[in-house]
């Protein structure tokens, strides 16, 4: 088949909702887009452990500490599922890690914001994981089989992440005045960055059309963002907290909430690397990788020793 025929055949498989598997023919751009998207997603899981890691030793009770540990351990696992899915496309793990550490690859900008109070663990679980789940549920039907399967597994595990976050805020919001203030402050700081997680507006998202045609993405950025807002507003009401957006209002004609404009200047700055914690996060990542080198070396030496014993 000529390249053109292959392309037509490929698109017809996509249109028929067939999944594409690792060894199937695919356009190079489809492969590149997937490697970029899946590895960014994997990096986000890994970097996403950092803001929470700081709170393990500061969690207010043993229960909260166990829960937070379990959540962070899940995130390490989710990073692994995703690196695994990216590797099926023919890219090596160490190349992906190098790209993260050199700054060539991106990760979700949300993790460049600081987690300064315990209430932030609540807001991250509720809003950041909530927004991530919105994206990930849609990606369970993505056209690339290994990515879709990783997403199904992640979504199954992730719903507890959101619930434990909400549970933290629920407890605070029923506590003392100071605890209520803490919860409100966390919502104030995490609301807008959470909305940014869905990416630029559709009119400003040049790769979206191709990704939608290839069914890598199943919904546009704005569609998912609207869904998230609609879902989250009533949840904030149950907490008795106020979403920091003066323009937020139910629109009965649209059947959706209207909401204010995102600060796209801030969005672009954080994406470009000038967010509050970009440098800190990468440094922590590189440090962990380098200081863990001896563990990887020791594991290899031990494996060699064991194989000699067996032989």
């Amino acid at each position: 088949m000529s390249n053109e025929e292959l392309l037509v055949h490929f698109q017809s498989r996509i249109d028929a909702e067939e999944k594409i598997e690792a060894k199937d023919w695919m356009p190079e751009e489809y492969r590149r887009t997937l490697i970029r998207q899946i590895s960014q997603h994997a990096h986000s899981e890994v970097v996403g452990m950092l803001p929470e890691g700081n709170w393990i030793t500061r969690a207010p009770s043993l229960k909260r500490k166990s829960v937070l540990l379990a959540k962070i351990q899940d995130e390490a696992g989710h990073g692994l599922y995703l690196y695994g899915a990216a590797e099926t496309l023919g890219v090596e793990r160490d190349v992906l890690i190098d790209e993260l550490h050199s700054g060539k690859a991106k990760y979700s900008s949300i993790f460049n914001y600081p987690a300064i109070s315990w209430a932030d663990m609540g807001a991250i679980g509720w809003l950041v994981d909530g927004a991530a789940i919105m994206n990930q549920v849609a990606l369970c039907r993505t056209s690339y089989g290994p990515y879709a399967r990783a997403m199904v597994r992640i979504c199954k595990e992730e719903s507890f992440h959101q619930r434990q976050g909400y549970d933290i805020l629920l407890t605070l919001s029923r506590g003392s005045d100071e605890q209520i203030r803490m919860a409100q402050d966390a919502l104030n700081r995490w609301w807008w960055p959470s909305l940014m997680m869905f990416g630029p507006n559709d009119s400003n998202s040049p790769h979206s059309a191709q990704s939608l045609m290839w069914k890598i993405k199943r919904f546009s950025n704005d569609e998912l963002r609207q869904k998230f807002v609609d879902m989250t507003v009533p949840q904030a009401e149950i907490l008795g907290l106020k979403i920091p957006d003066a323009k937020l209002k139910w629109n009965p004609d649209r059947g959706h909430y209207d909401f204010g404009e995102i600060d796209w200047v801030e969005f672009n700055n954080v994406v470009k690397g000038d967010g509050p914690c970009n440098k800190l996060r990468l440094e922590a990542r590189i440090k962990a990788h380098e200081e863990g080198a001896w563990v990887r070396e020791a594991a290899l030496a031990y494996a060699e020793k064991r194989s000699r014993k067996i032989a």
């Binding site: 160490d94 595990e157 080198a293 494996a303 194989s307």
Partner: protein, 107 residues
């Protein structure tokens, strides 16, 4: 500087030396082992322990197989038309091929 570069490439090599394993899990006795994903490990023993930590954190399994990915021989998807073609015209292998009297029971 030189030493650093050497160390760096040394580390990279070690990463590369960790082989990839495919992981299969039996969720409960009576069911088949099923492919769940893959991971890198220094050897099969470590792959088993890591598979336990990654894929059975919520009691998803009672048994794990790990197989080095390079040891799997797979059919070629670009040849799958010809490869699976022999089964295509043998519809008489299915019970619905046979039209039998309505009165016939237990068959």
């Amino acid at each position: 500087m030189l030493k650093n570069d050497h160390e760096k490439s040394h580390k990279t090599n070690i990463m590369k030396n960790w082989p990839l394993f495919e992981i299969f899990i039996r969720s409960k006795n009576g069911l088949d082992h099923r492919h769940v994903g893959s991971l890198h490990a220094a050897d099969a023993h470590m792959a088993l322990e890591n598979a336990r930590d990654v894929y059975t954190r919520r009691q998803e399994g009672v048994s794990i197989w790990v197989v080095e990915s390079k040891d799997i021989t797979a059919s070629d998807p670009s040849e799958s038309g010809a490869f699976f073609e022999p089964a295509e015209d043998k519809i008489y292998r299915h019970p619905t091929f046979y039209e039998l009297p309505e009165a016939l029971k237990h068959m």
